[in-house]
């Protein structure tokens, strides 16, 4: 065997040995970053907030509707919808239908007010209660209709309402409200219990309804 060939083989063997020695080192060096990446993806998955809607009808057919929407998806898709009153994730309010009620001023007043019951109406047909409790606006309506009874409970974090009214005077910023909602904990937003169906709208970190 010539010296040239022997030299080439020696160099090749040395290169191979060095590579083999370096591979575990590289793998070890990459391991923490892989762990970090895995941890990040887990955190990211944990941070996903889901809006769930469930409608269960108690009639003979037993109609059920389940909707699961990631809040991030809704936040990104809403600005793409430009139809009728909805533009860039904001919906225009028709002032003519508000009977000269300045919603923004009302929201400001509620924000600065202390916790308590603001409206309590007890009638033959309906009971209505509007309250502020633990930075949540709570609306409770009990319809005592003779044919069908229904109970509606709405619980919205104040920061979501603030975000909703953060746009111009005559518009509601839905995207900002969704963004604010994504920062809140697990919460039930709407609950309707009627004789013939129940509706639930809630927010949590699970990607499936119960």
């Amino acid at each position: 065997m010539s010296d040239c060939k022997r030299g080439f083989r020696t160099r090749t063997a040395l290169t191979a040995a060095t590579t083999l020695l370096l591979i575990p080192g590289l793998a070890l060096a990459q391991a923490p970053s892989a762990k970090t990446s895995s941890a990040l993806s887990t955190t990211s998955a944990k941070q996903d907030r889901w809006l769930h809607v469930r409608v269960i009808s108690s009639d003979a057919k037993g109609e059920t509707v389940r909707v699961n929407v990631p809040l991030e998806l809704a936040e990104k898709v809403l600005p793409a919808i430009n139809h009728d009153r909805l533009h860039d994730g904001k919906v225009k309010i028709d002032c003519a239908h508000l009977n000269d009620v300045d919603l923004r001023t009302m929201v400001d007043a509620i924000r600065t007010a202390k916790d308590g019951e603001y409206v309590t109406v007890q009638g033959n047909d309906n009971d209505v209660r509007v309250a502020k409790q633990d930075n949540h606006l709570i609306i409770h309506v009990l319809d005592k209709g003779k044919s069908k009874r229904s109970q509606v409970e709405i619980k919205v974090p104040m920061k979501v309402i603030d975000a909703l009214f953060s746009a111009g005077k005559d518009e509601l910023d839905l995207v900002a409200a969704l963004h604010a909602l994504s920062g809140t904990g697990d919460t039930e937003l709407v609950s309707v219990k009627a004789d013939d169906n129940t509706v639930r709208v809630w927010l949590d970190s699970k990607n499936v309804t119960d």
């Binding site: 509707v65 991030e72 898709v77 990607n207």
Partner: protein
């Protein structure tokens, strides 16, 4: 003999590469079953990779018309598909009404739409990447794009 062997090898290689590409891109699956006398049963498997290629053969005039008609919906569809790609396994909507069942979900990066009624079953499976390509190409053909 050698020439034939080379040609066979070339053909096999091409088929293998084409198959691998098709498999990578996924397939569009359409199943329609009508459960009644004389009802039709359609089962279609289309390589998803064929859609962007096929769109190149659609006359520009028709593409422009389609883009014009769906002008309002295209940005919404594009935004939805783009976001859905982040959720490869998502149960989006499920409606059960007696014997009727509608389900919209994503599985393994594919959009699944299933409609089941006592007399008909429709199942649609579409890779989200194909839908993304499709909406992109239509948007590119929209007037003023």
């Amino acid at each position: 003999m050698m020439l034939l062997a080379k040609a066979a090898l070339g053909l096999t290689g091409t088929l293998f590469v084409a198959g691998a590409y098709t498999f990578h891109e996924g397939v569009i699956r359409i199943d329609v079953d009508e459960h009644r006398a004389g009802g039709s049963h359609v089962h279609m498997w289309v390589p998803a990779a064929a859609v962007p290629m096929a769109m190149h053969f659609v006359p520009q005039k028709h593409l422009r018309e389609a883009a014009e008609r769906s002008r309002e919906a295209l940005p919404i569809a594009h935004a939805i598909v783009k976001e859905l790609k982040k959720y490869p396994d998502l149960d989006l909507v499920e409606v059960v009404d007696g014997e009727q069942h509608v389900q919209i979900r994503t599985r393994h990066g594919k959009l699944q739409i299933a409609v089941e009624t006592p007399d008909q079953q429709v199942h649609l499976l579409l890779p989200l990447s194909t839908l993304d390509d499709f909406t992109r190409q239509l948007e590119a053909n929209a007037p003023g794009a």
